[in-house]
Symmetry: C2
Subunit: 266 residues, 2 copies
């Protein structure tokens, strides 16, 4: 039986079930420079919930990144503080000596959802993956390890990926796991943070620390490529939001994301 | 000295400073039907932080609404769990017999922010307030008390405000406090939830319970009207997101919001 990278790298073991304490080993395989990617950390923090919260889908997850995380062991403290008929809410803290990330999540069951549907948005228009840009972004902080975890194809309309600065701080493209693992609701919070930041269009590629990241999982993805669109519309005095959409091969929106981050001067 | 409605209705008193416990009296003046508006509750929960957290601006605030809140006394439990140089993070719980709302917030100082600025969005185009629609929305659950707290002028391009259903689930307009209180960073989380839900365009106006609401405060507003734009792009099996933008009279984006909510069948 194959163990995919994502499942191995986000694995958690209970160390004190009564106290809600789990342990993870943060690997360097999702690093951006010396630090693990925030989406990877968040996906790892959610792993215990899939086993304990009693609902299958992370409908909305918000994480506050307090301090950089590091490669190595981490305690994950879980508190399911509200269980209702439709939704269950939990808080999760990632501790490496001190608390580094705090998240709150609401889980539900998308398969049991009933109600009206009206879709006014559409997936980004993209050429087929083999007509998109394979070349990796030119950035100042070395080749991030995280990029080896995915196959990523950037739209030809995003020339900054090839190193030509632009004020069009947006990026669209295809993405899937490099080892063939299908996307699912557990990995969507990682996919929501797996593209190079759209603000890199400006050509000042460096560390863009996330302050807060919220991901809404809207549907369970079909197997295959995801279409992604990320955009920063408001960069003000170094603070920026980045909005993301992920769509599956059936043309369904599977996740929306928004983060508040900072563009540190290089 | 005048006490404005917002300041009176969100007032908090410390009851156990060492434990971080405050008390508020939730008034009926921001009700929608029998329950207080979520933005009002969130603004009330943030009030203790302005006195204790040591930073002036709520950069990002996420609230999970666990159970309906009610008019009357509420305990507000505050834990400032991380104080850094730039940002301080806190968790706040609103308790009425049991926990009803949990929020996490990151505060900072927008006046001290330094870095690049690039604004790619623009405020909604609106006729002057006196050429907009004053008439209140036609909704099924009675005239919400919250509407008396604001002066609201809806764009003529949103005919559903007058009772004509539309699949254009968006609304733009002007808003300010009815009693002349200027908007500020403390009241922006309320303004971000103060318009009728954009999904009311569909003509099935009822209760739209918020599961999670996140507000980013991006600038301190100038005095005067706010321009607002709210939109729901994805209503799927009854779950919807609503994205909002608030702009001040100087044409600056002052807040972005996104909530995950449900459209309950009437």
């Amino acid at each position: 039986m194959t163990t995919f990278e994502f499942d191995a790298d986000t694995a958690v073991v209970p160390v004190d079930a009564g106290a809600g304490r789990w342990r993870a080993t943060i690997t360097p395989r999702f690093n951006v420079g010396p630090n693990p990617n925030g989406g990877y950390i968040l996906a790892t923090m959610l792993r215990p919930l899939f086993e304990t919260i009693g609902k299958p889908d992370p409908l909305t997850v918000s994480a506050h990144f307090l301090r950089p995380t590091t490669v190595g062991e981490a305690d994950i403290d879980v508190d399911v503080f509200r269980t209702g008929r439709r939704h269950a809410h939990a808080e999760v803290r990632l501790v490496q000596e001190t608390e580094r990330v705090r998240a709150i999540a609401a889980f539900g069951d998308l398969a049991a959802a009933e109600g009206r549907t009206l879709v006014r948005g559409a997936p980004p228009e993209l050429p087929p993956p083999d007509e998109c840009i394979v070349r990796r972004p030119v950035i100042d902080i070395g080749q991030p390890a995280i990029m080896d975890r995915f196959e990523t194809r950037f739209a030809p309309s995003t020339p900054w990926i090839l190193g030509e600065p632009s004020i069009d701080t947006a990026v669209t493209g295809w993405i899937r796991f490099a080892d063939g693992r299908p996307a699912d609701v557990a990995s969507l919070p990682l996919f929501a943070d797996a593209f190079p930041p759209a603000v890199f269009a400006l050509g000042r590629a460096g560390w863009v620390p996330t302050i807060e990241l919220t991901v809404h999982v809207r549907a369970r993805p079909a197997p295959g490529w995801l279409r992604a669109r990320f955009e920063t519309r408001f960069l003000v005095d170094g603070y920026l939001e980045e909005d993301g959409e992920l769509w599956d091969e059936d043309g369904r929106l599977v996740a929306e994301s928004r983060q508040l981050a900072m563009l540190l001067q290089p």
